[in-house]
């Protein structure tokens, strides 16, 4: 009885392995080539950014995180609860995504609304002289109030919407009407990234000016190849 069970288990395992192998083999070379081409372009972008002297963001779809990098070095990672692409729709027709969209480096990222320091005394231009041992400055989160939802607008037309709380991500009510009006008059794609509220606040306060953005990962056929 036991012997039969062992034989059956071996047979089932062999069948399962054969099935998996066949599954892997099923990726057509052309699809694999397309996926590798996509990955290659992404890597070229990242290599170019690593050579620059600017801070930049990398939206890593495999890891589901937004990372801040400097010269190829990760300095801060913000795990994302969700990453969504918003396509404008007009007259019930949804805009298509250009094939080059995924390989582009998005430059000159600007925050909207702009961070505003609530305490002018701390401004570099403030005419503050003299030593005050009792002076206690505000905490960063008091000094620069972070909105629940803000945008990073890139020069090439992409808008990254950073949402501090997933419950704010919906497009209902007033936000829905704002989105509709935007879609009517703008053809910009939107990326919606939902972050932990603390992370979203930190990113808002410390995002270096003119940060760039590149995407990384998630070309499915390449992922299958990588498991071999």
């Amino acid at each position: 009885m036991n012997k039969r069970m062992v034989i059956l288990a071996i047979a089932l395992t062999a069948l399962w392995s054969a099935g998996r192998a066949a599954e892997k083999e099923e990726v057509p070379p052309r699809a694999r080539f397309g996926a590798l081409l996509r990955e290659d372009r992404q890597l070229r972008n990242l290599a170019a950014l690593a050579d620059s002297a600017d801070f930049y963001l990398v939206l890593d779809l495999d890891r589901q995180e937004l990372g801040l990098f400097y010269r190829g070095v990760p300095v801060r990672e913000y795990p994302a609860h969700s990453i969504e692409l918003g396509r404008p729709r007009r007259f019930f027709l949804r805009a298509s995504v250009s094939p080059d969209w995924y390989d582009q480096v998005w430059t000159d990222g600007r925050l909207d609304p702009k961070p505003h320091r609530t305490d002018d005394k701390l401004g570099a231009t403030a005419d503050s002289t003299g030593f005050d041992p009792e002076w206690v400055p505000m905490l960063p989160e008091e000094l620069i109030l972070s909105p629940q939802k803000y945008e990073i607008e890139f020069a090439e037309g992409l808008v990254m919407e950073v949402v501090a709380d997933s419950t704010q991500a919906g497009s209902g009510g007033r936000q829905g009407w704002i989105d509709r009006a935007r879609a009517l008059f703008s053809s910009r794609m939107r990326l919606r990234v939902v972050l932990d509220p603390d992370d979203a606040g930190e990113l808002y306060r410390s995002l270096p000016p003119e940060a760039e953005l590149a995407l990384r990962g998630d070309a499915p056929a390449a992922a299958v190849v990588a498991t071999r």
Partner: protein, 253 residues
Amino acid sequence: MRSEIPGAPAGARLPGTTTLDAAGFEEWLRTHRQSRRRLSLPKWPLLALLVIAVVISSAGYEYEPLTVPPVRGAEVDVVPEDQLAGKIRALESEQKSLTRAIGSNIPRGQYIVVDRVNNRIYLRDQEKVELAALCSSGSGRFLKAESGERTWTFETPPGRFKVLRKMENPVWKKPDWAFLEEGKEVPRNPQERFEYGVLGEYALYFGDGYMIHATLYERLLGRSVSHGCIRVGRDDLRKVYRAASVGTPIFIF
């Protein structure tokens, strides 16, 4: 005189009336039409509103999880079948070298990251965060000497630096601004510039007068209060000091 309503079935009555003659009916009909005209809204604005509502309803953003598809189309299709394997090998090889090139930027071993706005210091090893702690960075305050010739802005500079010197029991050589800020005269005797114990047990010097050091004002950690140096709590500084060596990269953003 009694009369039937023209065209109406025999015995038909208008509401609220018992009988009505022809003239009365005409009068009633005219009044009724006028009142209906008064009540009815113009048609064109309504239609325009309807069109606007449809146009607005047709617009919006449709969100979907972001996925990146493989490259498709002519660029992929144009490659002849017999060349495909070679092209794939070439791409795989190029990817390896690109990945290597990108990875070569990441410091081998530990490195220090300072978020000068949020006043956080991180000790990292590759992608692992080994320490996340509060610190104090430059206040952004501005100081002008009474003569008006010299000015200072107390900011922590962003960029890539490295540890140039590790110091135990560092002594602070007070710069001119430290005296001017307290409303004192800048001493002529250099010996009067030295102050002991204010920087804590350790300091990591990273150039141009900037250091990572401890502070007497630990209650102010997490706030932008320094003159540009990075102030860290005693226990956290011990860990950072132990981990760092001369040459350890420091990234400040």
